[in-house]
């Protein structure tokens, strides 16, 4: 085997370097194909990461339920009865399902008058639990805070504003510590939410609502029924079984069939995240295929030039065969040459793609609607591995078929005279 390699490399080193201009064009084609596949995959990866980030901004491992009507009869009762959990169900669920990360309730007051000085806006005011801040990612901007247990116990009139709503009401003014009126009751602004690009929503974007402690909300608005019930599991894979358990518990309490999934309408964010993820994988595969096809054209270029080289060197090949070269000694230098072209083109393409991706980091994402949705093109190691694999396969194929033709050269042709 060692002599084999020695012979193959010696032949490769001494074989003529013809077709220089075509070789450059071929390398350029491979580089172009590599850039195409890398950028497409990087774009897909960036989109995936951005969507994932945007999706997470609603909160992780969450499911939202809102009141519905039964669709199955239960214990002699007809379908069509409303099911609407109450505030005290939060504690009830908490007790019966201690494994949950958190149990949240939302009491919603739509189009509520919120006034500050001479300015009044109509917006959503949501009463909810203290854990909401963490679970629904309502992180306070510097200088503010989300409400805490004491606020809830003492039913303090504190309000946490979505960033857009804060801007609408206060403009450039710092809202923290200011007092505003919610339906004419005074509230102290204790925090403003950090800006986030939110994908999953129900009711409206978080940036455009205000939240207050649920106890305060009940004191002011006087209702008992929850608008939304949220549960958060510790791990995403627990969601399905936890939802089943929840329906069993609430089904027993409110009298409905636990398998009746309309009694409480449910949005399982874990499940929809999985669907989104699958769609994104599909998009990435599609982009990858488009890129791979572009690269394939480069590969055809390499194969083409190798055919030309083989044709040009037919006599040379015949002479080498007459002198005792074996088939593989003829084939391998050609394969090697194609691989070298592909390798150079690939390396060039990877460099260019990296430069382009690096350049996109200078495009600001903040306040750029397109970029905040698409995200930044990102080159991951997996993309590199996939591209290298495709390059390698294309290089080998582009070399193999012309080389096979080379090996089929009839050495007797070199003897021809007259």
């Amino acid at each position: 085997m060692n002599t084999d390699l020695h012979i193959i490399f010696s032949l490769f080193a001494t074989s003529s370097r013809l077709q220089r201009k075509r070789a450059y064009l071929t390398i350029a084609a491979i580089a172009w194909g590599t850039v195409a596949i890398l950028l497409l995959l990087a774009f897909g990866e960036g989109l995936k990461r951005q969507l994932d980030k945007n999706r997470r901004s609603t909160g992780e491992n969450l499911a939202v339920m809102w009141p519905g009507e039964t669709t199955k009869p239960w214990k002699g009762m007809p379908p069509g009865r409303p099911v609407r959990p109450r505030i005290d169900d939060l504690d009830f669920i908490r007790q019966r399902m201690p494994e949950l990360q958190s149990v949240l309730g939302e009491m919603v007051s739509w189009r509520t008058a919120i006034a500050y000085g001479r300015k009044t806006v109509n917006g959503r005011v949501i009463g909810t639990n203290v854990v909401y801040g963490e679970a629904r990612k309502h992180y306070a901007q510097a200088g503010g805070r989300f409400f805490n247990e004491d606020d809830a116990i003492q039913r303090r009139r504190v309000i946490f504003l979505g960033n857009e709503m804060a801007k609408d009401i206060f403009g450039g003014e710092n809202p923290i510590g200011k007092t505003l009126l919610v339906n004419n009751a005074p509230y102290t602004v204790i925090g403003v939410m950090q800006k986030k690009t939110q994908m999953g929503m129900y009711g409206g974007p978080d940036s455009n609502h205000a939240v207050i402690p649920i106890t305060t909300w009940r004191a002011q608005f006087g209702r008992q029924r929850l608008n939304n019930l949220l549960i958060q599991t510790q791990r995403p894979e627990e969601m399905k079984s936890e939802l089943k358990k929840l329906n069993e518990i609430l089904g027993a309490k409110y009298g409905y069939d636990a398998t009746d999934d309309r009694a409480l309408s449910t949005w399982d964010m874990v499940k929809s995240a999985q669907v989104t993820k699958n769609i994104l994988i599909g998009i990435q595969i599609f982009l990858g295929i488009v890129g791979a096809l572009t690269l394939l054209i480069g590969g055809v270029g390499v194969a083409n030039i190798m055919y030309a080289v083989v044709k040009e060197r037919t006599r040379e090949i015949g002479v080498k065969m007459a002198l005792g070269a074996r088939r593989r000694w003829i084939i391998m230098p050609f394969v090697l040459e194609a691989v070298v072209y592909t390798f150079i083109g690939g390396a060039l393409g990877i460099t260019i793609a990296n430069l382009i991706v690096a350049a996109t980091t200078f495009i600001p994402i903040e306040n750029n609607r397109v970029m905040s949705f698409l995200g930044r093109p990102t080159l991951s190691p997996q993309i590199g591995i996939i591209t290298s694999l495709i390059l390698g396969i294309i290089g080998l194929l582009a070399g193999y078929f012309p080389a096979r033709r080379a090996a089929s050269v009839d050495p007797a042709a070199t003897l021809r005279y007259e």
Binding site: T3, I7, S10, L11, T14, S16, R315, E316, G318, V319, K320, M321, A322, L323, G324, A325, R326, R327, W329, D410, P411, A412, T414, L415, R416, Y417, E418
Partner: protein, 232 residues
């Protein structure tokens, strides 16, 4: 110079080219023995089967039927790699159009069969140089074929043919592309080689070259029609 060692033994060699529609029988039963130290000229008109015979002798092709032994080794029915090895070790080719590789030096051209023969690099260089000196080109080792005259190129080719110390030197119209001076140079080298004990098989139209051979084999229509010692 004749000794009794048989280098080439062909018995009832037939070669049929099957082009699909037509079957052409190029050789119709060739019996031929060539002994060590002979210088055989094979002559015949175009289409006589001469080229086919040379392909078989040079192990570039295998016969459709019949037995062929080269240097005691059966050539019929061996693999392509073995055939390549036989060509490498037992046959030295000299072509009409030299067939040197144009982009490498004379030295590297002569090294080529040694490379295929698995000879180590240092020994390759030494042996190639010695061969080039033997054909009078010791001062041209680093020249590329394009920098050499036709006669010089053919001498490089002869050095290359001799490099592996083959059983036979197989030359096909070796003087065909040369002017008369260079041609007679090459003929002298062949005669010298023969006198030094090499077995030569030369296919030629050139009566002058045929006259220098020890034996002339005439082929016509796929059969040997005459086999006699040279008139010279």
């Amino acid at each position: 110079m004749n000794t009794n060692g048989t280098i080439i033994r062909m018995s009832d060699i037939r070669k049929v080219y099957d082009t699909g529609k037509v079957k052409v029988e190029a050789l119709k039963g060739i019996d031929l023995e060539i002994h060590k130290g002979e210088m055989v000229a094979i002559v015949g008109p175009s289409g006589s089967g001469k080229s086919t015979l040379m392909n078989l002798v040079g192990c570039l092709d295998t016969p459709t039927s019949g037995e062929y032994e080269l240097g005691g080794q059966a050539v019929s029915g061996v693999s392509r790699d073995t055939l390549a090895e036989i060509r490498n070790r037992r046959v030295g080719f000299v072509f009409q159009n030299f067939n040197l590789l144009p982009h490498i030096s004379a030295q590297e051209n002569v090294e080529m069969p040694l490379l295929f023969g698995g000879v180590r690099p240092a020994e390759r260089r030494e042996r190639a140089k010695a061969m080039l000196e033997r054909v009078g080109l010791g001062d041209r080792v680093d020249h590329k074929p394009t920098e050499l005259s036709g006669g010089q190129m053919q001498r490089v080719a002869i050095a290359r043919a001799l490099a592996m110390n083959p059983d036979i030197v197989l030359a096909v119209e070796p003087t065909g592309n040369l002017d008369s001076t260079a041609g007679s140079d090459i003929m002298s080298i062949f005669t010298d080689l023969w006198k030094q004990g090499s077995t030569m098989v030369i296919i030629t139209h050139d009566p002058a070259l045929a006259r220098r051979a020890s034996r002339v084999v005439e082929i016509r229509d796929g059969r040997i029609t005459a086999d006699h010692p040279s008139e010279a």
